[in-house]
Amino acid sequence: MLAVITGFIDELREAGVPVSMVEAIDAMKAVETIDIGRRVALRETLRATLVKNLRHERAFDTAFDIYFSTIPFPSSDGDGPEMADRGPNASGGGQGGPGDGGMDAGALLAALLDALARIDGEALRRGVRQAVDQLAGMEPGRPVGGTYYLYRTLRRLDLEQLEAGLLEALTGDEDLSEFEERLLREEVEALIDRLREEIQEEIRRRLVADRGREAVAKTLRRPLIEDIDLMHATSNDLAEMEAAIGPLTRKLAARLARRRKKRTGRLDFRRTVRKSLATGGVPAEPQFRHPRPHRPEVWLLCDISGSMATFSRFTLQFTHAMATHFSRLRSFAFVDTIDEVTSFFGPGIDFNSAVARITTEAEVVWLDGHSDYGNSLETFHRRYGNQLTPRTTVIITGDARNNYRPARDGVLSDIARASRALVWLNPEPRAYWDTGDSAMSHYARHCSSVHEVRTLRQLEQFVETLTLPSGRALQNL
């Protein structure tokens, strides 16, 4: 058991979940106090001791399934390995054909439907085992990922029919209003999701029995949400990132507001007296109130052109989250010209409708809808430049791909001079900068700092290291 847990912890680390020495020891100690025959107990014990971040739970669940699926649990009576032996025979049957002692596709569907409708876990598991036997067509030793078998099983299972059948079974002969039907449909969807999970688990169990834990873990390992490339993130990934953006913007707000402690502020009488007692009532060391934290002013300029579609959705999400933390945030969007979009964001405004309004109402296209940083920046400077103050931090997000148009970067130095700091966040790998139509270095030399922000982690690092030069230091540049 100890060896399995050590292997499991190694796998978590391999997948990017930070597990410290102390936590590993805690996990071992914790496992000693529980009944490891119960799978839930083991899973939740390991989860509570090893995973301290919600974002890592998906990686944990996958790894747990792999490492602890072949251990016999009372409900499945150790049939994991035995199943794998039967695998090839069953798959020989081909397209939904009956395996050894199997039933035909219709009966299988009916059995699953019945199990789901009655929420009978035991019957469901039996049905799923049968389904994987007959439909997945698993071949031992074949180096494909579990998702391949999953799709194969699901496709042959005809989920739509199952869904319709379930809906019918649960409705009975009642007449449902639109509202009731919606609730019912959601219930059916939840059940189908559960079926999908059961099938996936079953397939994983068999893969592990066939190829061993390490090999399966390797094929199933997926990057953590903070390591996903923002340029190629799926909408699911983006939705998951959204949860992480909130805390990050709060941190950014705190960083920008931070100031060195100075002896300015008014005298704090209460603390002075309290401190004076150490010196017998003589106020040898006067205490001061902390000066009010200054309120940072942030302007965000986002490239929302087509080449940046995924990234710009992310930056707009970021903008949206920032708008709730900074009262003095102004946001601008540009493609080949620029427009202010501040009023589209803010507390209580739905993000999707804000994005929809930007694409329809904001004037970000002037000529042909291909990025033109030069024109956008010049327009920006002409229209808004005189409103920049030494307290303004300007953040530009974009790949600096200018479609071979003139960079016109001179205007950027004016912007930099007029503001507290000018930061550029580029979602491309550093190695690609200045290749092709990228004009990054032209712009970079005017910025206070330039960062590669390809992943959420890098954005976090950017926020972490953020110490802005004071306005005066900038002018000396």
Partner: protein, 287 residues
């Protein structure tokens, strides 16, 4: 206070009207077994604070609560010297020699205990709840570390005070910011999410007297439906409980579109959310 296993924890909690799922019961059981603090994280209103209160009731211990906020400092969380009293003491006999006095004024008599120190010094075992720990600054978080790992507090003038009895510690966080690794490492981590409809139905039945099984089921399903929308603030469990109470007050027996449309504002607190849910779930916009 020892439990046989997680099932017993769940049962005890149920007696205190708190319905724990397997995960919650398991982690609480571990916390008791290993004497480790539990960091409870999750959206607002899913019963994080309730869990600590229920555990206090179950173990019949006193609940000491430290509500965190921005700007919380040592003097409010740990201890403070009662400087007024110290001042009086010094002035009351000025002719005593300094050594005696200094020895005197830094004694326990002049110490004002704040929640954390109080939990440590209590003779009776207690449940310590550190609420919304994500609200304090990162620097202040460090104050908690000594308590969480060693259950002790160091007062420079008096030395280190160890806990008389092991407190059961819960920290809650709404995850508005990332907590430090050091803090997380010392805790068991428990994420509580919105309950599934079956559990929510059970919670409603336990918490709202006079609610029929049927109505509770409907409320739970509607809650799931609304949470699946992309909202600014999804309805929490406490809000569905409020909603169920409202339905009873209005003597509603069956939730339909009209009832939902009229009472959406109990579940949702932003106009944009109300409009959106009304559009999605009912055919007419809410008034």
């Amino acid at each position: 206070m020892k439990f046989e296993g997680p099932l017993e924890v769940a049962e005890a909690l149920r007696a205190a009207d708190y319905l724990a799922d397997e995960r919650i019961a398991q982690v609480v059981y571990l916390a008791v077994q290993l004497d480790k603090p539990v960091l409870v994280e999750g959206p607002a209103g899913v019963g994080k604070t309730e869990l600590a209160k229920a555990m206090a009731a179950v173990t019949s211990r006193r609940l000491i609560r430290l509500q965190c906020y921005e700007g919380l400092d040592e003097a409010k969380a740990l201890y403070e010297w009662n400087y007024k009293k110290q001042l009086l003491r010094i002035q009351s006999d000025l002719d005593r020699d300094w050594d005696t006095i200094s020895h005197d004024i830094f004694s326990e008599e002049f110490l004002l205990t704040r929640p954390l120190l109080e939990a440590i010094r209590s003779i009776e075992p207690v449940v310590l709840l550190i609420d919304e720990v994500d609200r304090v600054e990162v620097e202040t978080e460090a104050l908690l570390l000594e308590i969480l790992s060693d259950f002790q507090v160091s007062v420079p003038e008096l030395g280190t005070m160890r806990a008389n009895t092991q407190p059961l510690v819960f920290l809650t966080s709404n995850n508005t910011r990332e907590l430090s690794e050091a803090l997380k490492r010392r805790c068991l981590f428990l994420h509580i999410d919105y309950p599934d409809p079956e559990r929510e139905q059970a919670i409603l039945n336990a918490r709202v007297p006079g609610l029929s099984e049927h109505l509770a089921g409907q409320v739970a399903k509607v809650a799931r439906s609304i949470r699946s929308l992309d909202l600014k603030k999804a309805p929490s469990v406490s809000e569905t409980i409020d909603w169920a109470r409202t339905l009873i007050a209005l003597s509603v027996e069956e939730v339909d579109e009209d009832v939902l449309g009229d009472t959406l504002h109990v579940l949702l607190k932003y106009q944009a959310d109300i409009d959106k849910a009304a559009k999605e779930l009912t055919s007419s916009p809410a008034g």
